[in-house]
């Protein structure tokens, strides 16, 4: 992560704060910061979402393309993730600086969405071996305020929820020429069922305790993090330990319990806000980047 240099005194101050479950910005160890989410703000994408978690800003765009499926998985569509750390997020992202963090994020997203039950990709396949939908998910990191993995995964889930795939009819004539007919009616679209999609929850171990949604300062004094992808139903689709330090086994199980509980809560709250935003329909004005 982009670490801000802290002196030893500041680090001990943060660690002591966490020990009595009262962090420097007043939150308890398992509380998220203020998050506001907006979907459907970019016209030329099939689906998009912008998430601002305190001062972490992430923009996700999903483009649906018709392509040939992979030879070894002929009857399934697929998701392709791409993460770009733009240089205006942090000076060291300039050039190839942000590549390492971007690959880490991409690997985690691929892991989280690797299980077949997470997102029904078989329905994305139009003609086995010949034609299927490929969803290109592009994550753009605009500002780093700590806890980038959680924010990115939530924004990805929101963007997938907001994705509208035009319905396509395939007519198979006698000759093997397949006839594709894409409807241009904006309402005749198919939506993705993201109820089983996971969101990532990062538990940072500081001292002997672990906290959720660590700010940039808290991330600087944490040696090991456990990132878990949790679905609304509470099942775990990916876990990765990241960071230079090591964790002892029992604290891992403890962290997993907390992760599951908080993860379920985050998922439910997210689905609620998405549905609520959907109801407002076209009346709601998009705030975008004005604020």
């Amino acid at each position: 992560m982009v670490d801000v240099n802290l002196s030893e005194a500041e680090k001990t101050f943060i660690v002591h704060g966490i020990q009595d479950n009262f962090r420097e910005d007043g939150r308890s160890n398992e509380e998220y910061r203020q998050m506001d989410l907006e979907t459907g703000l970019m016209s030329n994408t099939s689906g998009s979402a912008r998430l601002r978690l305190a001062n972490t800003e992430i923009l996700v765009g999903v483009k649906a393309e018709l392509e040939e499926p992979k030879p070894e998985k002929p009857d399934v569509g697929r998701l392709e993730f791409f993460v770009d750390c733009s240089a205006n997020a942090a000076p060291e992202f300039e050039g190839r600086g942000g590549e390492e963090l971007a690959t880490e994020m991409m690997n985690l997203l691929y892991r989280a969405y690797s299980a077949s039950t997470v997102l029904d990709v078989s329905s994305l396949c139009l003609q086995s071996g010949k034609l299927c939908w490929v969803l290109y998910v592009d994550v753009l990191l605009l500002e780093c305020g700590g806890n980038l993995f959680d924010a990115a995964s939530i924004a990805v889930k929101a963007a997938l929820f907001n994705t509208k795939i035009p319905s396509v009819k395939v007519r198979q004539e006698e000759g093997e020429e397949t006839e594709l007919e894409v409807s241009d009616d904006p309402y005749d679209v198919r939506r993705l069922d993201v109820s089983a999609a996971p969101t990532v929850l990062t538990l940072s171990k500081i001292g002997h305790n672990h906290i959720v949604d660590a700010s940039q300062k808290e991330e600087a004094c944490c040696l090991a993090r456990l990132m878990m992808a949790v679905t609304a139903s509470g099942s775990v689709t990916a876990t990765v330990k990241e960071g230079r330090g090591s964790l002892d086994p029992d604290s891992i199980t403890e962290m997993m319990q907390v992760g599951k509980r908080v993860g379920k809560a985050v998922n439910e709250k997210l689905l609620e806000t998405l549905k609520e935003e959907e109801q407002k329909g076209l009346k709601r004005k998009t705030v975008g980047f004005l604020r």
Partner: protein
């Protein structure tokens, strides 16, 4: 862009396996008549492990690990200077690179490092960094290069164990050796040290698709240095699998220590 730095064959080629019917229909059941597909009886049976330290003359330290058909070679270089580095730090650095040989898997792999190899390299770095005393070589860097010669399942755990043996053989100061183990969750059974076919078992329809967890463990300090899992299971099945991996790591620890002791003794009496 044609790869002008290598001899190139035709543009697009297909693997012969794509046209072979019985390979496409992967079977779903893990146990056939009481035994695992490669003859191991219990779920917790680990394949016979063969380890050897100090086989590459050019490397500072090296090791070779063989889990029945999975063969991994690791070489450690350094500590040497870091080429271009502006920040001056009293802590040493480790850089890891995992590479699959083009002939290591059934379907031929490309020479250029793809996403999966980058992922394994990061996981290897995660596993080794906590175990190495970085302050013992300030301002310099240790390189760990792993080549997977043949991949018959749990390549990552073989790479981690082999790399930590190579680091010890290189005389790099370490808090503890790192031993790793992989487990495949398939329905209710937890298969330790899965082979390649067990890694790609088809999910039984209706059940949860299970998953695969790899654990990097420092047995004498009882610390987990790496944990990576993907799939879709409940939490308790996952922590059960992690526990099963931990017990196997304790068993493996003994084998790694004996190999290291044997190689030090052998070097002592012929030097």
């Amino acid at each position: 862009m044609p790869d002008t730095r290598r001899i190139t064959g035709p543009e697009e080629t297909q693997s012969p396996f794509a046209f072979c019917p019985q390979f496409l229909a992967q079977s779903a059941e893990a146990f056939s008549d009481g035994k695992r597909r490669d003859g191991r009886k219990a779920e917790a049976d680990h394949r016979p492990v063969f380890l050897k330290a100090g086989l590459i003359s050019q490397a500072k330290g090296s090791a070779f690990a063989e889990l029945d058909k999975t063969k991994v070679v690791c070489a450690v270089y350094g500590p040497h200077e870091v080429a271009r580095r502006e920040d001056f730090s009293m802590q040493g650095q480790i850089s890891c690179e995992v590479k699959f040989a083009p002939f290591s898997c059934r379907v031929r792999r490309q020479h250029v490092q793809d996403g999966r190899e980058k992922d394994l390299s990061t996981q290897l770095l995660e596993a080794l960094e906590p175990a190495v005393r970085l302050d013992s070589f300030p301002k310099s860097q240790v390189d760990v290069f792993v080549t997977v010669l043949e991949n018959d399942g749990s390549a990552l755990s073989a790479a981690i164990t082999c790399a930590s043996l190579a680091l010890a053989d290189a005389g790099i100061e370490m808090y503890d050796l790192v031993v790793a183990c992989t487990a495949r969750i398939h329905g209710t059974s937890i298969l330790v040290d899965p082979s390649f076919s067990e890694e790609n078992l088809k999910t039984v329809s209706g059940e949860k698709p299970g998953g695969q967890v790899t654990l990097g463990f420092m047995p004498s300090l009882r610390q987990v240095s790496a944990l990576c899992y993907h799939g879709d299971t409940d939490l308790d099945v996952l922590s059960q699998a992690t526990q099963r991996c931990q017990d196997t790591c304790h068993k493996l620890y003994q084998v790694v220590q004996d190999t290291l002791v044997k190689s030090v003794e052998q070097r002592m009496n012929n030097s």
